[in-house]
């Protein structure tokens, strides 16, 4: 479903991704972990061409992302949801308008009644129907994250990329968001790629963990395997 081969990305003299190879099958919750600034966010931004990789192959849902024209790229992007680290809610729009925006822009709004139904359904999924007419500035960090998640899910994507979904949240809200990711994944049968360095989020969400270190995929495995790893760096990271 997602295949990366020999992916390379450099910023000026800083070679962030050196030779990344990764394969994620349909339905898997893959977590990519690594230290801050190692290039995890760069990796998923390359997957949706928010950043252009210098070299390598990115194949998602059978399409070679780096070779797609704008129209085909936008069609593919509809099938990929992206939850941004800072939520990226449009702060000049209400919660309702934030959720309507992707539907209207992609001609998926239907009638006015359909649009209302889709927005309310998305809000119910994250338990925040009451916020529909609020502005993003009136929401707490956890609520913003949930609304961001609702907006990501509203186009019913096949793959969701999560960029640090629990960053800046207290442990209880962080656990709630991690559980929400799992329940929504089960409800919509999506494939998830989660970028994080929050070990509790990893424990709750991961089917498989990929460790990014020094620009390469350093190790892969299940949570229990990582926790009992013989590699001192991995052992220290997970314990």
């Amino acid at each position: 479903m997602v295949r990366l081969e020999h992916l390379n990305k450099t910023f000026q003299d800083n070679e962030v991704l050196k030779d990344v190879n990764l394969s994620i099958p349909r339905g898997e919750n893959a977590v990519i972990i690594g230290q801050s600034g190692i290039g995890k966010s760069v990796l998923i931004k390359c997957m949706v061409r928010l950043l252009e990789p210098d070299a390598g192959l990115i194949e998602i849902l059978g399409e070679e992302v780096t070779r797609l024209e704008e129209e085909k790229l936008n069609a593919l992007r509809k099938k990929i949801g992206f939850l941004f680290q800072g939520n990226a809610l449009y702060d000049s729009m209400s919660v309702r308008e934030n959720l309507e925006f992707p539907l209207v822009r992609n001609n998926m709004a239907g009638t006015k009644k359909d649009l209302e139904h889709k927005v309310l359904e998305a809000l119910d999924n994250v338990g925040l129907r009451k916020t529909i007419d609020m502005m993003p500035s009136e929401l707490s960090g956890g609520m913003k994250k949930r609304i961001g998640l609702a907006r990501t899910l509203i186009l019913k994507p096949e793959i969701i990329l999560y960029d640090e979904p629990t960053t800046g949240l207290d442990p209880i809200t962080s656990k709630e968001i991690s559980n929400l990711i799992i329940s929504l994944q089960q409800q919509y049968h999506t494939t998830s790629i989660i970028i994080t360095h929050d070990i509790s989020c990893v424990e709750i969400t991961a089917n498989k963990i990929h460790v990014l270190k020094d620009g390469i995929l350093y190790a892969s495995g299940r949570y229990e395997e990582m926790k009992q790893s013989n590699d001192p760096w991995i052992y220290n990271f997970f314990n």
Partner: protein, 257 residues
């Protein structure tokens, strides 16, 4: 240090030129975001009217009060409305309106897009299948380009009211006589360069504001820098465009076009 600064200015100009090329590409190639363009025109045009009205009124009033004593010394007081109208329509109206818009609209666009860039809202728009160059940038550039000439006409008219009041502070002149005196030295071709440069002023304010916001760096400081440099660069651009249009106008007059 000087070399570094020169390189930065050059790379900024190159970036601005490339950005302008992309904007023009999106302006001439469909689909067009008409609804968003109308919304931006409303914000940029209608919402700027009160500020333009106050400034233009004071400008007309003060310009008349300051010019009057000199004309009185030469016994040419009756030429005052004509002199003010030519100054305002040809030069002061468009330039002052554009500078006010660079301050209000240019900084607003720079800060808004800068903030959207820093908080990844532009990226979010892009991954949801919306081209931000079309939706955010092209619409704002069209709105500033179309609204500025309208604001200039409005500012010219309000300045005339200010000037009329100032003339009447020292004498008694009817509105009809004032307008006759004001419009006698004006010709239709005085309006053409003023309108043409107003379009260019609007385009420059829109493109520079969007460029500065769109290429803002990271963090809240970048938003302030984007807004600030949008005003500075747009103000300089207004004077450069003004100088070029005036030179062109004089050259054409010399060739008796």
């Amino acid at each position: 240090m000087d070399n570094e600064r020169s390189n930065n200015i050059l790379s900024d100009l190159t970036g601005l030129a490339k950005f302008t090329g992309r904007v023009v590409h999106h302006l001439i190639n469909p689909p067009f975001e008409n609804r968003e363009m109308l919304k931006q025109s409303y914000f940029i045009g209608y919402k700027t009217l009160p500020l333009i009205a106050v400034t233009a009124f004071i400008l007309g009033l003060v310009l008349t009060l300051q010019s009057r004593p000199v004309l009185v010394d030469f016994g040419a007081e009756t030429l005052l409305p004509g002199m003010i109208s030519v100054s305002i329509v040809r030069e002061i109206g468009p330039v002052v309106t554009a500078l006010i818009c660079a301050g209000k609209i240019g900084s607003g666009i720079g800060a808004e897009l800068g903030s959207m860039k820093v908080t990844e809202q532009i990226d979010a728009m892009e991954v949801s299948g919306t081209n931000p160059m079309k939706f955010l940038v092209a619409t704002r550039v069209v709105a500033t380009t179309l609204m500025l000439p309208i604001l200039v006409f409005f500012a010219d008219a309000i300045s005339f009211i200010g000037s009329f009041i100032a003339v009447n502070l020292h004498g008694d002149i009817s509105a009809r006589l004032f307008l006759t005196d004001a419009f006698t030295p004006l010709h239709f071709y005085d309006l053409i360069p003023a309108t043409i440069k107003s379009f260019f002023f609007g385009f420059a304010i829109g493109v520079i504001g969007c460029y500065k916001g769109y290429t803002a760096g990271f963090g809240t400081e970048a938003v302030g820098r984007a807004a600030n440099s949008a005003v500075v660069v747009a103000s300089v651009a207004i004077f450069v465009i003004d100088m070029l249009v005036v030179q062109l106008q004089h050259s054409m007059e010399a060739l008796q076009f």
